[in-house]
């Protein structure tokens, strides 16, 4: 059975159809990548799955339950965790307090502040933030903000983790570290749905890939299959070259 199903999901902003009749099927335990040129509707899809946007048409089903109409918080409680492409740390909080917020509210197991702090520190350790737990988030560099995004999402104890461009802006070494973290997450039976422009990471990580263009799915399959697909090549060559050849 599928963990996440999108069934004919459509979202338009005025005249612009950002996501157009999209159907997806993410299986438990896999790493599924959503790729496509800028403006293809990838981030909108994430917003629809996490509930920050409501679809105009279509259904979203998590583990057999229709979640199309419920709030983002309820979806988090059902096991959807996500990062944000533009890093959105809670200023006025330290690194560990950011992560604690997920431990306290992101799932249904009640935790005391002390327990939440202890578990948040363990997650900080896992993603490589252990030196920075008590630091204010203001002034953190890109790599650490990306780590914090992942740590916060993990703190909600997701069954499905949505990673929105966690590699973008990282050096090669940092990206490799991020890949290692994502593999480690999958080991804990978390299903991963990721958006990325860094093709080498997608190739290394993804079990399956779906390609979006103008809100529609134009290809799906293994990385090798979609990379050889003429429609996919055309979609990418139709935009700026940089999209496919970063790193």
């Amino acid at each position: 059975m599928s963990l996440l199903v999108l069934d004919g999901v459509t979202k338009a902003f005025g005249g612009l159809v950002a996501v157009d009749g999209l159907s997806l099927d993410v299986r438990p335990g896999e790493i599924f990548a959503l790729i496509g040129p800028n403006g293809a509707g990838k981030s909108t899809t994430f917003n629809l799955i996490s509930g920050l946007l409501g679809p105009d048409r279509g259904r979203i089903v998590l583990d057999g339950a229709d979640i199309t109409e419920i709030t983002p918080a309820s979806r988090a409680h059902l096991g959807i965790g996500r990062t944000f492409q533009l890093m959105q740390p809670f200023h006025d909080m330290t690194v560990v307090e950011n992560v604690m917020t997920g431990e306290l509210f992101g799932h249904t197991v009640p935790k005391s502040l002390a327990e939440a702090r202890r578990d948040a520190e363990a997650i900080c350790h896992m993603v490589g933030l252990d030196q920075l737990v008590n630091r204010d988030v203001t002034g953190l560099g890109v790599a650490n903000l990306k780590r914090l995004e992942i740590a916060r999402a993990l703190a909600t104890h997701p069954r499905l983790l949505l990673l929105d461009e966690v590699m973008a802006g990282l050096t090669l070494t940092e990206a490799r570290q991020a890949v290692a973290v994502i593999r480690q997450v999958r080991e804990t039976e978390v299903t991963v749905l990721l958006i990325d422009h860094v093709m080498s990471s997608v190739r290394d990580l993804a079990d399956r890939v779906a390609v979006l263009n103008f809100g529609k799915k134009i290809a799906e399959g293994s990385f090798q299959t979609v990379a050889a697909d003429p429609d996919v090549i055309e979609a990418y060559l139709g935009t700026e070259e940089g999209d496919t050849h970063q790193h």
């Binding site: 996490s50 509930g51 920050l52 709030t71 983002p72 918080a73 988090a76 409680h77 965790g81 996500r82 944000f84 959105q88 740390p89 809670f90 200023h91 006025d92 909080m93 307090e97 604690m100 917020t101 997920g102 306290l104 509210f105 992101g106 799932h107 502040l113 939440a116 030196q131 920075l132 008590n134 630091r135 002034g139 953190l140 560099g141 790599a143 650490n144 916060r152 999402a153 703190a155 909600t156 050096t171 070494t173 940092e174």
Partner: protein, 322 residues
């Protein structure tokens, strides 16, 4: 208990004893001071009440509305229905809480300045409506029965107790999981929601807590000053005062709004008695300068002084990337 905590507890105990002893001294020698003290404490509760709502990012201009609802409800049920004053004050704050829950639901989607204007419109509407209605006494206002037989010392002790309750609530909010929810919502509502924070619930709860303290302070005002009118209790000055003190003293803290309220009111009294004419201009100038040059308020200055004293200690640095 560490040495620093012991000092803090001792300092708090001294302040508390002084605050409780004060009216007995003032009542014999300087009754006017007692009046000022009651004003300051009421102002401090209003400031703390505003701050607790602001912790969720909701910058209200409706505190006059909750204050006025408390005042008018209590005044009306005690004069028209003959209910006891304590019951009236309780009903007054409950009406403020219920209305705040409704207003909170209505303004959920408004942010920043739009939220402020929306709440201001609500407050002004209440003032206009109260001005027109016959049973509220219209523009003439209402004469209100005195609290505790009009004795200033017990009146003072009562409002001090309400302030203590507000302090305890604020302190508990800032030391519980609520603090994380409030701060997350204030910083980024969408992210807070995606991380599982029930945004609607916490925003409306903050509204209700805030309105309770504003409402009870309004009701108290009515029964201590014995006369209310729409132009006074629904005044924009009440709403603006409620937000100026926390900004001046230090936002999102328990001590900041209280400190801000005390310093502002005492400063105002001193200016009033030393500069006979034009004191509001100097008062306004000082406010503007503080807000421009001390963005974290008095508490922020105190924190910088403390960390300045502690320089030389090692700073946690972000390690350079590989």
């Amino acid at each position: 208990m560490s040495g620093r905590q012991a000092v803090q507890v001792l300092a708090l105990a001294v302040v508390l004893v002084a605050a409780v002893a004060f009216p007995f001294w003032a009542n014999r020698t300087q009754p006017y001071y007692l009046q000022i003290a009651i004003n300051i404490i009421s102002f401090a509760i209003l400031a703390l009440s505003w701050d607790m709502l602001a912790r969720t990012g909701q910058l209200s201009l409706a505190h006059a509305a909750f204050y006025g609802l408390g005042a008018y409800t209590s005044a009306l049920v005690t004069t028209r229905m003959g209910l006891p004053i304590f019951l009236g004050m309780l009903l007054g704050s409950l009406v403020a809480v219920v209305v705040a829950a409704g207003l909170g639901m209505l303004t959920l989607r408004l942010r920043g300045i739009y939220f402020a204007i929306g709440t201001l419109a609500f407050s002004e509407t209440l003032r206009v409506v109260t001005n027109q209605l016959r049973f509220t006494g219209g523009a003439t206002g209402l004469v209100v029965p005195p609290l505790l037989g009009g004795q200033r010392v017990p009146q003072y002790l009562l409002i001090l107790a309400v302030l203590l309750l507000a302090v305890v609530v604020s302190w508990m909010v800032n030391r519980s999981r609520w603090h994380f929810a409030f701060t997350a919502i204030r910083t980024n509502e969408a992210v807070a929601g995606a991380m599982g924070v029930d945004v609607v619930r916490f925003k409306v709860l903050a509204f209700m807590i805030s309105a309770f303290f504003a409402g009870i302070t309004g009701a108290y005002y009515a029964h201590v000053f014995l006369f209310i009118s729409p132009i006074e209790v629904y005044s924009l000055a009440v709403s603006v005062g409620a937000l100026v003190a926390p900004i001046f003293g230090g936002l999102y803290t328990t001590a900041g709004p209280i400190l801000g309220a005390v310093v502002l009111r005492v400063g105002e009294e001193i200016l009033r008695s030393t500069v006979q004419r034009g004191y509001p201009i100097i008062y306004g100038l000082i406010l503007a300068l503080v807000i421009l040059y001390m963005p974290r308020g008095l508490i922020g200055v105190w924190a910088s002084v403390k960390s300045g004293l502690a320089t030389g200690r090692k700073e946690t640095r972000e390690p350079a990337g590989p």
